[in-house]
């Protein structure tokens, strides 16, 4: 069985709703890419965790379970999507063919005399509706199909994960430096993450840059589950029915204790 080594970093964050300051363990792995890359071979993931303070076994196990949960959630989402859309897509194709046929059928059965040039002009202006719109759902269909196959491969071959303490001195120093930086600054939450991201970029700490980028994007987003999946506007509803739900790839994170220097 192949062992795949992955890093996890415990990085400073702020609590949500009414929470206080806490740190978050971030596993630097993108689930969809991992599935595509490693889903074909039987493997186990070993997570090397780098934290400014030593973690107990319970805390390390929480990171491992966060890993399991994120994968499970993704698997379930993809599976449900596959089940619903198997027939949904068929319906889409039939409805689409009907619409196309209705649009051009009147030209196919025109009585004599008719002007073929006028027909050409009309078909030209209709072509966006007739041909253009099929590319996007077709692309989504092919993409979803490859993800579904990838997930089925990975479910059988991914044999869980284990978390160990990281031993790379350089990476340990990086998480310590992030903690020191965090204890020096204050400001708005997004602003803080932005400053931490810039600091990480200067250090060449790419995993932290990815983490804070993702956090900032999440916080800036003016969307909720409801507005995404049951939108009020007609246009969004049509798009949803037409293209189907896009399965979001969860990030692997686990809350950790506060390790702030000044706290």
């Amino acid at each position: 069985m192949k062992i795949i080594d992955v890093d996890a970093y415990v990085l400073p964050t702020l609590g949500r709703i009414s929470g206080g300051l806490n740190y978050t363990a971030y596993v630097d792995l993108e689930i969809d890419k991992h599935i595509m890359r490693c889903g074909g071979v039987e493997h186990k993931v070993r997570i090397h965790c780098y934290s400014p303070e030593r973690l107990s076994r319970g805390e390390l196990e929480r990171i491992a379970r966060a890993f399991d949960n994120a994968f499970s959630r993704y698997f379930a989402d993809v599976e449900k999507n596959r089940r619903i859309y198997r027939y949904w897509r068929l319906m889409g194709i039939i409805a689409y063919s009907i619409a196309t046929f209705v649009a051009i059928s009147s030209y196919l059965f025109l009585p004599y005399p008719y002007n073929i040039y006028a027909v050409c002009v009309d078909v030209f202006f209709f072509h966006i509706l007739i041909f253009g719109h099929c590319f996007r759902p077709l692309y989504r269909w092919l993409l979803d199909g490859s993800i579904e196959r990838g997930v089925h491969r990975a479910i059988k071959r991914l044999k869980g994960c284990e978390v160990v303490e990281g031993e790379d001195k350089g990476k340990l120093r990086l998480v310590e430096m992030m903690r020191e930086r965090f204890s020096e600054i204050d400001g708005g939450e997004i602003n803080l993450y932005g400053r931490l991201r810039d600091y990480a970029r200067n250090l060449g700490f790419q995993a932290a840059v990815r983490f804070y980028d993702w956090l900032i994007r999440e916080l800036r987003e003016e969307e909720s589950f409801y507005t995404k999946y049951n939108p009020a506007s007609l246009w969004r509803r049509i798009k949803l029915y037409y293209l189907g739900f896009k399965v979001e790839v969860p990030r692997i994170t686990a809350p950790m204790r506060n390790m702030d220097v000044g706290a």
Binding site: N22, A76, Y87, V102, F225, R236
Partner: protein, 635 residues
């Protein structure tokens, strides 16, 4: 495959086996089941404990899991199954099958083959039968999926491999708190905030539900009133005053009235009322505010008002903390008071022309507990768990289903449960108030007589976040609207959605000609409408979010079966709908408006970073103060 659960220490009671449940955890459970099936593995339970020791708990855990988890899982599966079936069945409307199908079919038969009748025939046949078959197939797939998952989970739980105990320092710390503390409520409040610091935020909810002072009796029949043996007399509280000190302010030309440099870390540290109170007192002393203790709770917490300014042009009331679960309001008031330590461009003018009363927290215990307060008909108070009910999968599933089906409005059963016995302290204002706390607040306000008031609220929590996460500030306004306009509001178009309609709606002649009558254009004729507009403009100008876009459309199109709770009048602005207005439920700002003609506003902020929520409230209030004093128009 392993699954993490907790052994949670309690005060004077045996430890509790706790599974972290959130509305979407079932996705993970289903995914796990798929994995287990595929790999032919078995499940191991990892029990996080304070010391990592297992003492004959294996059997208990197995039985408990099957008893509770499987039953709830079945229920949530059922709700989901029904919900998805309902939604997917919408793809097969009757009119399509029974009207359009036969119409096409008949048209095909009449028109014959050559004139395109064949196409009509095919379409007719598909609409009559094909579409229906495919939709039924999809619904069956979904039902099968959930049934498979249910049976799979039952199988998995029955064949649990083993239970493994792992120690966690956070749980050790919680155990120490429980052993050390004398009072249950204080212990749970401390534990609640320790959970965050120790990286166990999922246990916070547990202590939050268990922290209330009096035992919660939600499952009692709700049609009826409690009959107490002991008499209940309300003692009126004698207000205490502390004179103002002389302030010294530093000039800050960049600031207008309030300081928008908000430290999120600083705010997060003020998680209990004691920590917040300390900061408020410091700020009040520095800005030279007069302190009035309006009421003192049974546990000795003070409800204070801080008054500042010598002017008589406007009497401004800024109030928050009516609901303990909404921390941004009290923190925004703290930030406002701290801002007055410095002298901005308009500070001197505002303080010389008006008198401002800050009332940061109405429910101090609730603030520490992150709980809601309920007031019953006799004036007794209880602290409720957040979102009005004990946490159960059943409750979550029902609520989720109801919200999705009703587009966010309240279900009649819930409304009844909520309204009959215990009420939100914000909706029992008026002449018949029984609660000594609200009476004291009302008495104080009778003396203060505000001309402009803002009550800061929030809509946050797991279920609320599903719908409103990321939305900007929403304002609910109380100003005089002639009855004939109010009666027409419900049936009118909410607001022009596209540019053309917006342009047309501005032209009075076109409006009449085209029969366009929008709420916004009608309301714009009332002078007070401008003030809210200026406030919202000011929020946007300061770079904060207002309630707009898809959220606004949700508000504009409430469930057709229900009278709306709020009627939208503009982007991010609403007035009380018939559900609040006609039932005579008085929220504090509505009472202020009816009693003194106060121009009053309730604001709602939603799930965003704390500093943004505070900033939104700050900008809204600043815009209002500057507008009513005619200093700045919000441009």
């Amino acid at each position: 495959m392993k699954w993490l659960v907790y052994r949670v220490p309690r005060k004077d009671e045996p430890d509790l086996f706790y599974i972290d449940l959130h509305p979407f955890w079932f996705l993970e459970a289903e995914g796990m089941y798929t994995e287990l099936e595929e790999r032919k593995e078995r499940l191991t339970i990892q029990l996080l404990t304070a010391d990592g020791k297992a003492e004959n708990i294996e059997k208990q855990v197995k039985e408990g899991l099957l008893d509770t988890f499987y039953r709830d899982k079945k229920l949530i599966s059922e709700v989901l199954k029904r919900l998805l079936s309902y939604y997917l069945s919408l793809l097969d409307p009757l009119w399509l099958r029974l009207f359009l199908g036969p119409t096409f079919l008949a048209s095909g038969l009449i028109r014959g083959y050559l004139s395109g009748g064949a196409a009509d025939l095919l379409i007719g046949l598909y609409l009559l039968m094909g579409n229906h078959l495919l939709v039924k197939r999809i619904v069956k797939e979904i039902r099968d999926y959930y049934e498979e998952v249910e049976s799979g989970i039952e199988k998995t739980l029955k064949g649990l491999e083993r239970i493994e105990c792992v120690e966690h320092p956070g749980l050790r710390k919680l155990k120490e708190i429980m052993e050390r503390a004398k009072d249950k409520t204080e212990a749970y409040v401390e534990a609640l905030h320790t959970c965050d610091k120790m990286g166990l935020p999922e246990l916070k909810e547990f202590y939050c539900y268990s922290a209330p002072i009096t035992e919660w009796r939600y499952r009692e029949p709700h049609l009826g009133f409690p009959l107490y043996d002991e008499g209940w007399s309300i003692e009126s509280f004698k207000r205490r005053h502390r004179a103002a000190t002389k302030p010294s302010r530093m000039k800050d030309e960049e600031m207008e009235l309030f300081d928008f440099n908000i430290g999120a870390k600083y705010l997060y540290r003020l998680s209990t009322y004691r920590e917040l109170h300390r900061e408020l007192e410091l700020a009040a002393e520095r800005i030279g505010a007069e302190k009035i203790t309006v009421y003192e709770t049974e546990r000795g917490y003070e409800i204070n008002a801080y008054e500042i300014g010598d002017g008589g042009e406007a009497r401004i009331l800024i109030k928050a903390g009516c609901h303990g679960r909404e921390p941004a309001g009290p923190l925004a008031i703290l930030q406002m008071m701290r801002s007055l330590e410095k002298e901005g461009r308009y500070t001197e003018e505002v303080l010389s022309r008006s008198r401002i009363a800050f009332m940061p927290v109405d429910d101090p215990e609730g603030y520490s507990m992150r709980a809601w307060m309920g007031v019953d008909m006799a004036g007794r108070e209880e602290h409720w768990p957040p979102q009005g009910g004990p946490y159960s999968l059943q409750g979550e599933a029902e609520l989720l289903a109801l919200r999705l089906l009703n587009r966010g409005s309240l279900h009649p059963a819930q409304l009844l449960e909520y309204a009959v016995r215990f009420r939100d302290p914000n909706v029992v204002w008026g002449d018949n108030v029984k609660s000594p706390r609200i009476t004291a607040l009302q008495e104080y306000l009778e003396e203060f007589r505000p001309t402009f008031a803002v009550d800061l609220h929030e809509t946050i929590g797991k279920m609320a976040d599903l719908i409103y996460k990321g939305a900007g500030i929403l304002s609910i306004e109380n100003f005089y609207i002639p009855p004939e306009i109010r009666d027409r509001l419900e049936n009118m178009m909410k607001r022009p959605e596209n540019r053309l309609a917006r342009y047309l709606s501005k032209r009075r002649i076109l409006r009449r000609l085209l029969g366009l009558e929008y709420v916004r254009t009608l309301m714009a004729e009332i002078p007070e409408f401008e003030i809210g507009e200026a406030m919202m403009r000011h929020v946007a100008e300061k770079g904060f979010k207002v309630y707009r876009g898809e959220y606004q459309k949700l508000l504009d199109k409430p469930s057709p079966d229900w009278p709306p709770q709020l009627i939208s009048i503009d982007v991010g602005r609403t007035i009380d709908g018939p559900l609040l207005f006609k039932l005579d439920i008085r929220v504090c700002p509505a009472w202020l408006h009816h009693r003194f003609g106060t121009l009053s506003y309730t604001t709602e902020t939603f799930q965003n970073p704390i500093d943004e929520r505070v900033g939104e409230a700050l900008a809204f209030v600043e815009g209002g103060i500057l507008k009513i004093l005619g200093i700045k128009d919000g441009d």
